[in-house]
């Protein structure tokens, strides 16, 4: 049976070639000029490029706002869905999760069209609305999962011992659901910071996000600068992940 472990070798090689090496190449290209010489100029250029800097600031701002709105809207929803007394049907849960699997680009286009038909001016408001619409399920799902697995005897004990419902929530339920909140924040914040195409459609090209700048540079053959911008995003993502303890997060694959 021990030789079975060798079956992982091809995939290990595959992962090194198609996952590790590409990420290393982002670093390599970011630190090179067009002729392949080492330089820091791509990275320093970002910090003097007012266009890129302001786009970066807007992206982070939109991502934070989006994450907060998703949390405020999503937490009650997750709470209700996980509560057997408030929600008995499994169908509603599935309905909330299904949009996660549908291309954000297409859902965004549908939303933008809806805004157009109803005559909303596309701008920051529609951008946020569309973003919340795109990413809300990603906030609800992890919180729902944690709340569902939570041992109900804790809350029962708290109320038996005389805690008011508000106290039970604040001192028991909320602290216990923090892991879900963290992975929800991670799953909303990271894709929002890095989206491209979505913001253009939701704002009629008025607001550009960081992902779009990366795409523009790569597409106009400014690979080194594009790689440097990707590297900056990777650093942000790495920091957020470490900060929120996301490396211990279980990525749910099989069950939706």
């Amino acid at each position: 049976m021990s030789k079975r472990s060798n079956w992982a070798i091809p995939y290990f090689i595959f992962l090194v070639l198609f996952v590790v090496l590409p990420l290393v190449l982002i670093v390599v290209y970011a630190l090179q000029d067009g002729n392949g010489h080492f330089t820091m100029s791509n990275v320093t250029r970002f910090f003097t490029d007012s266009d890129a800097l302001s786009t970066f600031a807007v992206s982070v701002e939109v991502a934070i706002e989006n994450t907060l709105i998703c949390l405020l809207l999503g937490y009650p929803a997750a709470y209700i869905l996980a509560d057997k007394n408030l929600n008995k049907s499994a169908v509603t849960v599935i309905l909330f999760i299904l949009p996660m699997w549908i291309n954000a680009l297409m859902r965004t286009l549908a939303t933008a069209e809806l805004f157009n038909v109803f005559g909303f001016t596309l701008g920051k408001g529609t951008l946020l609305f569309g973003m919340v619409y795109d990413y809300l399920p990603f906030m609800i799902y992890p919180i729902y999962n944690v709340l569902l697995k939570m041992d109900k005897s804790y809350t029962e004990a708290a109320s038996d011992l005389g805690a008011t419902p508000v106290q039970v929530f604040g001192k028991v339920t909320l602290p216990l659901s923090m892991p879900g909140i963290f992975s929800g924040i991670l799953m909303v914040f990271m894709p929002t910071v890095s989206t491209f195409a979505i913001s253009e459609f939701l704002t009629n090209n008025k607001i550009k996000l960081f992902g779009t700048i990366i795409q523009e540079n790569i597409n106009s053959s400014m690979w080194n600068y594009g790689a440097a911008l990707s590297l900056i995003m990777l650093v942000i993502i790495g920091l957020t992940t470490i900060l929120l303890g996301g490396d211990e997060r279980e990525v749910e694959g099989g069950t939706i």
């Binding site: 079956w7 007394n85 699997w101 549908i102 291309n103 069209e113 195409a197 099989g254």
Partner: protein
Amino acid sequence: MKKLFAQAYIWVLLVLLYAPIVFIAIFSFTEARTLGNWTGFSLELYKHIFTGGVSGGASLMAAIKNTLLIALVAATFSTLLGTVSAIGIYNLKGRKKKTIQFLNNIPMINPDVITGVSLFLLFVFLHFSQGYLTVILAHISFCTPYVVLSVMPKLGQMNPNIYEAALDLGATPSQALRKVLIPQLRPGMVSGFILAFTMSLDDFAVTFFTRGTIGLETLSTYIYADARKGGLTPELRPLMTLIFTIILVLLVIMNVRQARTKKTTR
């Protein structure tokens, strides 16, 4: 009262969440060029897609074919690679197991843009001309982790003695594999395949960066290009409706399957 309020909240969110999709779906059944105008029920737009009556209908048909072809090939390879790897990883121990599981998680955590850019740089670095092959390789790289995660639990549920028993009773290792191991893993492999197929079908960013300049279009890149030209062409309404429906059906099938296996193991 509390319950009523909670139910209302859930349903308001759901209605908002599905409004755009339903809206597009409704207006895919009318001929009006402008979205929001209803000129009576018609399947004309659907007909256009399949007869190529769209402006540039041939390229739309090509995009549909590409999408399905890429998803099929990528999902098939991911399922094979993912199943073999899951068996390998399951039998690994300690640090080796942790390392490969960590690497397996990276493609799932990485944002699309980073995956796309990093693979683009890989193919540039290797002087690999970009086209079908690079898109398929890229799709395999982000689909396989999901197959691994679908098959792993099945390995955990399996009684290892059954495989040993088959060997003791005179089965060759390949017979034991085909007649004992694979049938036990099949539900996980099928879920993995469906997941991989859905992910591939749905991908935009990674395809966008790895398709090169040979004019390879999949549905999502086609829709992207079309929307950039200014507004959706009406034919994209039925198309989006079809994609939504296909994905919903696949996911419902998967959920029903999973609910059923849960019931039988109980």
